[in-house]
Symmetry: C2
Subunit: 397 residues, 2 copies
C-alpha cells in the first residue's frame, strides 16, 4: 500500500455509507436520503427546455466554459439573488458543482489544519465532511426552534476566539432539524458577529420550499440583513429547486474571496457542467421555476403532514420531534438511554430506514436522535414506514 | 480582508488567465485554448441520445447518484478499458468531474506539502495547477520524440528518492508537445519505476485522436503494460471523445486508492452530473463513439496538416517544432534569446494568439517555447494565423 497524505489518512471512515447502502434496498421504506422525490423531478419541463435550445446553445453545452460560470446563467442568478434582497456591490458570484463544492471551496481557501469552524449542532453531514477533510476543528452550537442559540454562540466565541475562522449555518428548514431561523434570531447572531473577523457561511438550499403559499415564512437571508463590513458567503443550489443531478450551485460573497475560490475551482474541475448550466439558465430565464415550485411545495407539504400526523398517533411517550414549515426533514429526539443505531437495526429488519443522529453531530458521538426525510417517500407508504419505526422503538424501550 | 489558508495564499496568480482573456476576442485567430472545435461537437448525436431516454432515465439524470458513478456508465467504461488491455483485477473505477478532478483527487490523497511529483517538462498546465495547489514540489524531466527521457528520469529519482510520491505523464499526443510515447520508452520507464514505491499517474485524454486510421500508433497504455505490483492510476476523459461540457472523466487504479479518492470526492462535489453520465452511457452503449471519432480524426488531421505545412513555408530559420501524429497540439521552440511573451504581444496586435511556454514549465520560468492548438481553429483561418505569428517573429529576430 502507498503512503497516503495526512488528509487521506484523516478521512472519517463512513459508517453512514454502509447504513445508506442498506437503506437503498428498494423493498425498504426509506426516510434516509436527503433528496427530492424522483417522481417530483421536472422531466417534462426539461424536455421543453432541451427542445428550445439552438444548435449554438448545444455547442456551448458541450464545450468548456469559463471557470466562474456560463455568463447568461450568472446574469439570471444575479437577478434572482437581487430579488432576495442581496446587494451585489463588491460581491461576486461563482457557479459551483453543487452546493457541496461551494462549501468545499470556501473551506479550502479559509481553513488551515487546526483552524476552527463553528457549526450548528446538529449540522449538515456534507459540510462536516468538507470541514474535517481540511482538518478543521469544530465547535457545535445547540439550536432551539428559532435557530442557533445566541448565548452558547457568544460563549463559544469567547472561549475559542483566536482559532475561529468561520461560522457555518443553514437558515431555512435546516438539514437535519427542519428548523427555520426567525428574523429576530438572525439579527441577534449578526449583532454577535459584527465585531468578529470570521466569515459567515450561509448555506440556504431549502429557502424556496416553504409549505404555506398563502403565508410563507420570512426567508430574507443573513446576507441581505448583514452590514457590509461582515463577510457573508451565501450558498445556494439547484438541487432542491430543479434537480440534484445537474450538480449546480452557487457561491456569492466578497469579490476577493470569490476570486480565490475561482482559482481553487480551476484546479479542481476546471468548470461546472456546461450542459447543466445551459439547461439551468433556460429554467430561470424562461420562467419555469415559479410554477414548478408551486407544485412541489404542495407535495412536500402533504408528505410532511402525513409524517407528522402518523408520528403523533404512533410514537410512544417521551419522544419529541420538530414541526417543519418547509424543507425535507423531521428531527426526532429519543430518550438519552436509547441508541439510534439500535433503533436503525431493529427498524430495517422490519423494512424502514432513516439516518442516525451521530452522523450530524460535530463530535460524531451523540446518538439519541434521528433524521426522517419525508421528501422522497411516496405519500402512500409514509404512514406505514413511521409505524414500523414506532413499533421498533417500543420494542427497545 | 480575511486571513486566508496557506493553500489560498500559495495559489499561482494567473498571468495565463489574462492572456487567455485577450485570446478570447472573436476577431483574434486563436491557437490558445486546448479544446475541441465547437463546430466538431456532436450536437446531432446528443439530440438522438436525448430522444432515446425513457422517463425513468430522465429521473435518474435529474437525481443524485452514487459518488462512484452511475452504475451502467461504470459498466460501459469498464468494458471500454478492457478493450484497451487493462486488467481490472483488484482495480476500481471512479467517475470524475472531468480528467481535471481525477488529477486533483489522486494528488489530494497522496501529496502532503513538500512531497515531490515528477512531471514531464513541458507539462499539462492543469496538472501543474493541481499539484501546486497541494503545495507539492515538482521535478520536471525533459522529453525527446519518444516521451519522457529515461536517463534524466533515473537521475531525478536517484537525487530525490525520499520525497517523491508520484510520477505524472501524458502518454498519447502529450499536452503541450504533441509527442506520442513509443512502446519501447514505456517499457523502459516501467523498468525504472519497477522497484519504486511511487504511483504512476497516466493521464490519457488524447489516445483516441490519432490521425492515420489505416496505421494508428500503438496506444496500449502503461496501465496495460505494467506489472501488477506497480500502482498505476489511469485517467481518461470524455472531453476529447465526446464533449468537455459534460465534465466527465474517470480514474482507474488500485482499489484501496480509489476508495480514498471516492471519499475525497464525496466531500468535494458529492457526485458528478447525473445528466452527463446518463448521456455518456448512451453514447458508449449505443455505439455512437466509433463513427464520431472517425469523423473528428479526419478533421483534426486536416487542421494539423495545414498548420504544419504553413509553419514549414513561413517560419524563419532556427525555429523547430514537433510533428504530431494525433491530438491537438504543435510545440514550437524558438531561439533561447527570444521570449515567447514578446512574441505573444507582437502577434496579438496583428490578430493571432497562442499559449506561451512558461505556462507549461514546472518551474514557471523557461519561455522560449509556445503551444499552438490546431484543434479549434477553422481550416480556412489556420494558415493566416500562422503567417501572422511567423511575421511577428521575424520582426523580433
Amino acid at each position: 500500500m502507498l503512503d497516503l497524505s495526512t488528509s487521506a489518512k484523516n478521512m472519517r471512515s463512513s459508517e453512514i455509507r454502509e447504513l445508506m447502502k442498506l437503506a437503498a434496498d428498494p423493498s425498504i421504506i426509506s426516510f434516509a436520503g436527503g433528496m427530492p422525490g424522483s417522481d417530483l423531478l421536472p422531466t417534462d419541463i426539461v424536455d421543453g427546455l432541451y427542445a428550445s435550445l439552438s444548435t449554438q446553445e448545444k455547442q456551448v453545452a458541450l464545450q468548456y466554459g469559463p471557470t466562474s460560470g456560463y455568463p447568461p446563467l450568472l446574469e439570471s442568478m444575479a437577478s434572482y439573488l437581487s430579488s432576495k434582497g442581496i446587494d451585489m456591490t463588491d460581491q461576486s458570484l461563482l457557479v459551483t458543482s453543487g452546493g457541496q463544492q461551494a462549501i468545499n471551496l470556501i473551506t479550502r481557501i479559509l481553513i488551515d489544519p487546526g483552524d476552527r469552524v463553528i457549526t450548528e449542532d446538529p449540522c449538515f453531514i456534507g459540510a462536516l465532511a468538507a470541514f474535517l477533510s481540511y482538518q478543521a476543528h469544530l465547535a457545535g452550537v445547540p439550536m432551539d426552534e428559532e435557530g442557533m442559540m445566541a448565548g452558547p454562540l457568544r460563549e463559544t466565541i469567547e472561549k475559542r476566539y483566536d482559532s475561529i475562522k468561520m461560522v457555518y449555518l443553514n437558515p431555512s428548514f435546516q438539514n437535519p432539524s427542519g428548523i427555520m431561523y426567525s428574523q429576530k434570531r438572525k439579527k441577534e447572531i449578526l449583532g454577535i458577529l459584527k465585531k468578529s473577523r470570521f466569515c459567515l457561511v450561509e448555506d440556504d438550499p431549502y429557502c424556496e420550499l416553504y409549505f404555506d403559499e398563502t403565508d410563507p415564512p420570512d426567508t430574507t437571508p443573513f446576507k441581505a440583513l448583514a452590514e457590509h463590513a461582515l463577510p457573508v458567503c451565501y450558498i445556494g443550489s439547484f438541487a432542491k429547486i430543479f434537480g440534484p443531478g445537474l450538480r449546480l450551485g452557487w457561491l456569492c460573497g466578497p469579490s476577493e474571496l470569490i476570486e480565490k475560490c475561482e482559482l481553487a475551482k480551476q484546479s479542481m474541475d476546471a468548470c461546472s457542467s456546461s450542459f447543466s448550466q445551459v439547461i439551468a439558465h433556460k429554467f430561470l430565464s424562461q420562467g419555469s421555476m415559479p410554477g414548478f415550485l408551486k407544485t412541489v411545495r404542495a407535495r412536500y407539504a402533504k408528505r410532511a403532514r402525513i409524517m407528522l400526523e402518523t408520528l403523533e398517533v404512533t410514537m410512544p411517550e417521551g419522544i419529541s420531534w420538530t414541526h417543519p414549515r418547509g424543507g425535507f426533514y423531521v428531527w426526532v429526539t429519543l430518550p438519552e438511554s436509547v441508541n439510534a443505531a439500535d433503533l436503525f437495526k431493529a427498524a430495517i429488519k422490519q423494512g424502514a430506514a432513516f439516518v442516525t443522529g451521530n452522523a450530524f453531530d460535530p463530535e460524531g458521538i451523540k446518538n439519541n436522535c434521528l433524521r426522517l426525510a419525508f421528501s422522497h417517500t411516496p405519500e402512500d407508504t409514509i404512514a406505514q414506514g413511521i409505524k414500523i419505526i414506532a413499533s421498533s422503538l417500543r420494542s427497545l424501550l
